[in-house]
Amino acid sequence: MKKNLTTEEFIKILYIICDDIEKNKDYFSELDRATGDGDHGVTMSIGWTAVKEKLDTLSSDLTFDKICMQVASSFLSAVGASAGPLYATALMRGGAKLKDLKSSNALQIADFFEAAANGIKERGKAELGDKTMLDVWIPAAETIKKTSIGQEDIIEILKQGALKAKQAMESTKDMLSKKGRSSKLGERSRGHIDPGAASSAMIINTFFEAIENLDNI
């Protein structure tokens, strides 16, 4: 049972996400070669390496929103691409829900994910079912939100969110791409997991696993 997440723990989690992205970068690029230009793993690696460098220099008394803003800016500056504006917007909108806080509860974490998902929707102008990262973020955030009603355990709400994210990622395989470079493929985009959906599901899952194992980190 974990009722509160501190900024210190949040930073630890971000470090772990950096490491997991690095481990999975070839997989993301491989997915992207099937439907796009093959650089999603490279982009994510460049971005999260920049995040890691930023985390090393962050002062310890920052609140969630300030951490998110700094991390988002370094990610965006380093990568551009599509992933840059999408992930940066997610972090900034999510962080804004935890303004001036140094500790957050399950309801606030749920708000964080909801705002992040809405940020991606607004920035990318995609719809559900377009075979993008939004197809992971919206259902995962909704599940986290729903689970957080009457559930104080952050581990539990993220566990449900991560499970949903994984299912949602798998479901992008059967979708027809309607956004981004892969949308020009038409029917040929079917049968492949969307790379942005894959990196998003990984991040949400790592967030969950890292919280579950915080005591061991």
């Binding site: 690029s29 796009g36 650089d39 490279v42 990568v79 691409a81 990318g124 020009k184």
Partner: protein
């Protein structure tokens, strides 16, 4: 097939390339506010001139920073390989080329570029720099004509940037520059063929797979799959197939400029063999060739392949195409 590249560190290729280009062409180019991804004309900002800012991912050289110079673009924002630049260099370049008449953002129609350039435009409007955007959408293979606005931008960048650059250089106001650029885009169509893939310096993996005797018609400049895979055919056959698609959209135009563009590793020999056939086909259709360009204008790293771009000319576009251009990687 193994990819071999003359590089130092795959994660430094873009910075090292840009550094080399600015050193080699320091009579024409400079960095904007020391931002290593924002390159502008040496004489920027030019007072009372609309600024033209182009940009996109790296790997398409001479696009985009090779187009910076008199009569063409005032600045370029440079992204990672095949990835849009982030808003930072776009904003820095915008400030560096703003001569008080606003800045036009011009780039190929890709989701990533749109998000980053739009974010930058928002930031610039907060600093009272008016920004307008014109997207290049010339690739026939990516969407049908009735969805022209959804097409991606490929080698047609060359003509659309050229027209806008000339209009801005002549001192036209921002709305007029945009109108002419939109018109040039409406008149520009491209179609390409790929024979072999490129590879990202970071992965060295082929961007797509074609058998030894195969080609792909309509492949995008980032290796996006095209409209048809088939057996490799002769230069004349390929050119006929590409020109057929292009002529379908020619309506009653009687005068054009033609660009036969190499994608990275196709020799000039092959591009000129294609041009020869293009010339014959246009002649048979009673279409006058006002001017022709053969060479590398928008590439895709070491991709093997070529594209044909045609711009339909009228009395308004033709003189703009004829205006002098002085940029670092080619002369018009």
């Amino acid at each position: 097939m193994a990819f071999k590249k003359i590089i130092n560190d795959p994660y430094q290729v873009v910075d090292e390339m840009v550094e080399g280009i600015v050193l080699a062409h320091d009579d024409i180019l400079k960095f904007a506010n020391n931002n290593k991804r924002a390159v502008v004309r040496k004489d920027a900002p030019i007072k009372d001139k609309v600024g033209i800012l182009i940009g996109g991912g790296s790997g398409h050289e001479p696009a985009f920073l090779g187009y910076v110079g008199k009569g063409l673009a005032d600045g370029a924002a440079i992204g990672n390989v095949f990835a849009s630049p982030s808003p930072d260099p776009i904003v820095e370049a915008t400030k560096a080329i703003n001569g008080g008449k606003g800045v036009v953002y011009m780039y190929g129609n890709y989701a990533g570029d749109i998000m980053n350039f739009d974010m930058a435009a928002e930031m610039c409007s907060m600093e009272d720099i008016p920004v307008k955007t014109v997207l290049v959408t010339d690739d026939i293979a990516s969407a049908p004509l009735d969805k022209k606005k959804e097409r991606r931008g490929v080698a047609g960048d060359f003509y659309v940037f050229k027209v806008a650059g000339a209009a801005a250089e002549k001192g036209m106001e921002i709305d007029e520059v945009c109108r002419l650029a939109e018109k040039a885009n409406d008149m520009t169509i491209s179609m390409g063929v790929a024979l072999g893939p490129c590879s990202l310096p970071h992965t060295l993996e082929p961007s797509f797979v074609l058998e030894d005797d195969e080609m792909e018609i309509g492949l995008g400049i980032h290796g996006e799959a095209g409209v048809r895979k088939g057996k490799l055919r002769t230069a004349d056959d390929i050119t006929v197939e590409l020109m057929e698609k292009i002529l379908n959209e020619m309506d009653r135009s009687k005068k054009v400029s033609v660009l036969v563009n190499g994608l990275g590793s196709t020799p000039l020999m092959e591009l000129y063999i294609m041009y020869r056939k293009v010339h014959e086909i246009l002649g048979k259709n009673n279409i006058e060739i006002h001017s022709s360009f053969v060479g590398e204008y928008v590439t895709s790293l070491e991709m093997n392949g070529a594209s044909i771009t045609v711009i339909k000319l009228d009395d308004e576009l033709q003189p703009l195409l004829e205006e002098e251009t002085l940029c670092s990687m080619f002369r018009v």
